[in-house]
């Protein structure tokens, strides 16, 4: 298989593209007149908050629209052919052959009934240019190039037999396999842990460079786009805000909106020592059935502070939260709250004990009953714990809504009528309604855009100051930890690796695992990934 033609030639030229979608009985504009020029061998970063039309534009670049959407006007010129004018049958000769797509959730995008290698090469074989042996051999080479373990046999496995990060790399191999001219990456690393993300990012960048492929990289993570893209386009409300080469964009953004995106990462909190201990986990062991998850976990939380629990998925940080709430009774050790040991089982705890510990979930979508209105969601704890009814309840609900920077107008809305950030705010209000002392925040910002994240984090900090709350903040995002925590607990494989004041934990020397975790967090410096890879391979 040969490498495609030279760099510099314009591959994709989108002119005045408008895409509209059908909802609520009307056609709404999603993309409102965007131009894109992409040359061979270039990577364009596409950033913006959700609803900005990033994914719709990414798909439209392939001449595709999701069901319920259509291209209104504009041209999508791919290698000199206007894709908008082509029939579906003609389009199919482009899709999966000359242009490919890497979706956000690899786990949801693979067919569980077929082996990985068969799926990797399916599009390649359909084009008819390669024999099965050639395609399979090439796929194995790609697996090797993408640093997949055991590259010669991994293709024989089924999707559920490999990890999420590996699956994402197999998907990249699938996208590269037909040697396309254009690859669209739609948030390919959002669902991954930082340590896995680094590997996937380096692999993708190497592959794109080697094969001189043009790519569109869609993400809301600025640090990631800084590593990947040659130039960045910022979208908002379906329109282009600005476009510039990566370095220029990072050092000198022109528009106010872009500057506000950049400023998110500057959020910092002054560190508190904290007073008496409000919660302590003493020698906790826990297990799901026979599988042990927590080994002798000791965590101390001081009143009025924020303790961040950091770790990858599977490190046991959410399990620790389940032990505290009583959903998963521990097999050994005690949970002490405000000087008294809490009963293991949820049903043995008093209403008062339940009221004082509240929880906010990662996915606000599933944490609220879709059939209840905002006033019912917030009103229930008021009624249940505090016995409020009628006008008193309504007044308090409005007060809580104002506390989370929303207003009375939201009372009768259903969760589906709220944006992601508003949903999370309602969940915060529900927790506050119980007038708790201690709130467990389980990855509360990880499903949100950066600009919305900042708003939520600021809100949580303000509430802490006003109401004297204590937070246990579970996260895998180090920049969030830096922003809001007082103390940090690093967990790995069910054990506490390190814990202490934030400045102490982030100050070297680190235990080996903390070092790996910290160094994997992408930085805004466009050379960060290159330097890291040089450093790691030499060390």
């Amino acid at each position: 298989m040969s490498i495609k033609s030279e760099k510099g030639e314009v591959l994709l030229d989108i002119k005045g593209l408008e895409v509209e979608g059908f909802s609520d009985e009307k056609w709404h504009d999603i993309v409102k007149g965007v131009d894109v020029t992409l040359r061979r061998g270039e990577i364009m970063g596409l950033i913006g908050e959700s609803g900005a039309g990033k994914s719709t534009l990414g798909l439209a670049a392939m001449g595709y629209t999701q069901p319920g959407c259509r291209i209104k006007v504009g041209e999508v010129n791919f290698d000199g052919v206007n894709l908008v004018k082509l029939s579906d049958a003609k389009m199919r000769s482009y899709w999966g052959n000359r242009m490919t797509y890497v979706a956000q959730s690899a786990a949801a995008s693979f067919n569980p009934a077929h082996r990985l290698i068969a799926q990797t090469t399916a599009a390649t074989l359909r084009s008819g240019n390669f024999s099965k042996e050639e395609a399979y051999g090439d796929a194995r080479e790609l697996y090797e190039a993408l640093n997949l373990p055991n590259p010669h046999n991994i293709g024989e496995r089924y999707p559920h037999q490999v990890s999420g990060g590996q699956l994402q790399r197999v998907m990249t191999a699938m996208a590269i396999s037909p040697r396309p001219d254009l690859i669209v990456f739609d948030e390919p690393t959002t669902a991954l842990d930082v340590t896995t993300q680094v590997e996937v990012l380096s692999a993708m960048r190497r592959i794109v460079e080697n094969f001189n492929t043009a790519a569109i990289y869609i993400t809301h993570d600025l640090a990631v786009v800084a590593q990947m893209a040659d130039f960045i386009k910022v979208l908002r409300y379906g329109k282009e805000v600005e476009e510039a080469p990566t370095r220029q964009m990072l050092s000198d953004p022109k528009e106010a909106y872009t500057k506000s995106l950049w400023s998110v990462r500057s959020l910092k909190k002054k560190e508190h020592q904290g007073g008496d201990s409000i919660l302590s986990l003493n020698g906790i062991n826990a297990s799901y059935g026979k599988a042990k998850v927590l080994y002798n976990v000791n965590i101390e939380v001081a009143k009025g502070t924020t303790v961040a629990v950091v770790g990858e998925s599977g490190s046991g940080k959410s399990t620790a939260a389940r032990v505290i709430t009583g959903l998963l009774p521990q097999t050994a050790g005690t949970v002490e709250f405000d000087g008294k040991a809490l009963p293991k089982e949820l049903c043995d705890r008093s209403k008062e004990e339940k009221r004082r510990i509240q929880m906010i979930y990662q996915m606000a979508d599933t944490a609220m009953n879709p059939r209840q209105t905002v006033s019912e969601i917030i009103g229930r704890p008021l009624e249940f714990y505090l016995g409020m009814r009628g006008s008193k309840k309504t007044a308090r609900t409005i007060e809580l809504l104002e506390m989370i920077e929303l207003d009375e107008e939201f009372m009768q809305r259903l969760p589906s009528e709220l944006s992601g950030g508003q949903k999370q705010r309602i969940c915060i209000a529900r927790a506050l309604a119980a007038e708790p002392d201690f709130i467990i925040c389980d990855e509360v910002t990880s499903a949100l855009d950066q600009i919305v994240q900042e708003g939520i984090l600021k809100l949580l900090m303000r509430l802490q100051k006003e109401l004297g709350l204590t937070y246990l903040f579970i996260t895998h995002d180090i920049s969030t930890v830096k922003a809001i925590s007082d103390q940090v607990v690093v967990m790995n494989k069910g054990e506490v690796v390190e814990q202490g004041q934030k400045t102490d934990v982030f100050k070297p020397p680190h235990p080996e695992y903390t070092e790996l975790l910290l160094s994997s967090v992408p930085e805004m410096d466009p050379d960060w990934l290159t330097n890291l890879n040089v450093g790691r391979s030499s060390g």
């Binding site: 959903l327 944490a367 944006s419």
Partner: protein, 306 residues
């Protein structure tokens, strides 16, 4: 979508914010979009409900009133003639709507009450309680329900109450399985966990957290189950253990008039006599299914292609 300013505010945040609508405006939009089949279905159902409710006012004669001429032909006095002992067929059709449909509705409601409540409880409490109930349901379902109902009705006697309870219990097994299956998907959601953490009781979690979210499949099933109950009552009446004379019901009317079909060579009109109540049954079943189909399509989340 409105254009926001450059400074961030929570209320101005865009996303899937949609127009706010009350229940009634939503209903109006849905009705306006409904296909013609569903409209016809609803019309027929309303007509049946009207007839069943006001039967004594509409019917020219009583359901057990006997006139001297059996097998009277169709005339202005007896619109559909009289039956083998001289009762007015038209009046019996109208009362039949009340008896047959009324009992079917009561039976289906009872079946959903039993099956739904137990199904929800089993979905929440997945321990031995679920196992015990599920295996019991398996046993009940292993026996063909019409034969089982026949046996039970012969043992306990064919009163209307027995009829309702026996068919409801047998049908609740299907409702149990459906409710349990759909509720299990909802029980694992975070908001149910949040309610548990809050300390809510089983009743609240069942009624407020889970039930509203599994309503669409249950309502669709209600329509289908209603048809099956309706048909089993008609079948049981046809076999003679259902609704007992002199109460009019469509199933037994088919049976009584069926014998006359052998005289069709002398009077083609007699063929219509058993067909009248049979058509009434068929029409309602089709109408209910039209509405259910529309409802299923609407809630399955399938988007219309544009």
């Amino acid at each position: 979508m409105t254009q926001g300013s450059d400074t961030y505010s929570a209320t101005g945040e865009v996303g899937s914010v949609r127009e706010k609508r009350t229940f009634w405006t939503r209903l109006k939009i849905d009705l306006k979009k409904s296909p013609w089949t569903a409209r016809i279905g609803m019309l027929i159902i309303f007509f049946y409900a009207f007839v069943a409710l006001f039967a004594p006012l509409i019917a020219p004669y009583g359901q057990a009133e006997v006139f001297p001429t059996p097998y009277a032909p169709w005339s202005s006095e007896f619109i559909f003639g009289t039956d083998q002992i001289g009762r007015d067929t038209f009046s019996r059709m109208i009362y039949g709507a009340r008896n047959t449909v009324g009992i079917a509705v009561a039976t289906t409601l009872l079946a959903f009450l039993i099956g739904g409540a137990l199904g929800l409880a089993a979905a929440i409490d997945r321990s031995y309680f679920d196992q015990a109930l599920s295996r019991m349901v398996d046993v009940l379902m292993a026996i063909p329900s019409l034969i089982f109902a026949l046996v039970l009705l012969s043992i306990f006697g064919s009163t209307i109450l027995n009829l309702i309870i026996i068919i409801a219990v047998l049908d609740s097994t299907r409702v149990f399985r459906l409710t349990r299956a759909v509720a299990i998907n909802v029980v694992v959601m975070d908001y149910v966990e949040a309610a548990r953490l809050r300390g809510e009781g089983l009743g609240w979690i069942m009624r407020k957290e889970i039930l509203p979210n599994i309503m669409p499949p249950l309502i669709a099933e209600f329509g289908l189950r209603f048809c099956f109950v309706f048909l089993s009552i008609a079948a049981l009446s046809f076999l003679g253990v259902g609704i007992q004379p002199p109460s009019a019901d469509w199933g037994s009317m088919v049976r009584e008039n069926a014998k006359m079909m052998i005289y069709a060579q002398f009077d083609p009109n007699v063929v219509l006599r058993p067909l009248l109540p049979a058509t009434a049954i068929a029409l309602l079943t089709v109408a209910v299914n039209f509405v259910v189909d529309w409802f299923l399509h609407k809630t399955s989340g399938l988007r219309d292609e544009h």
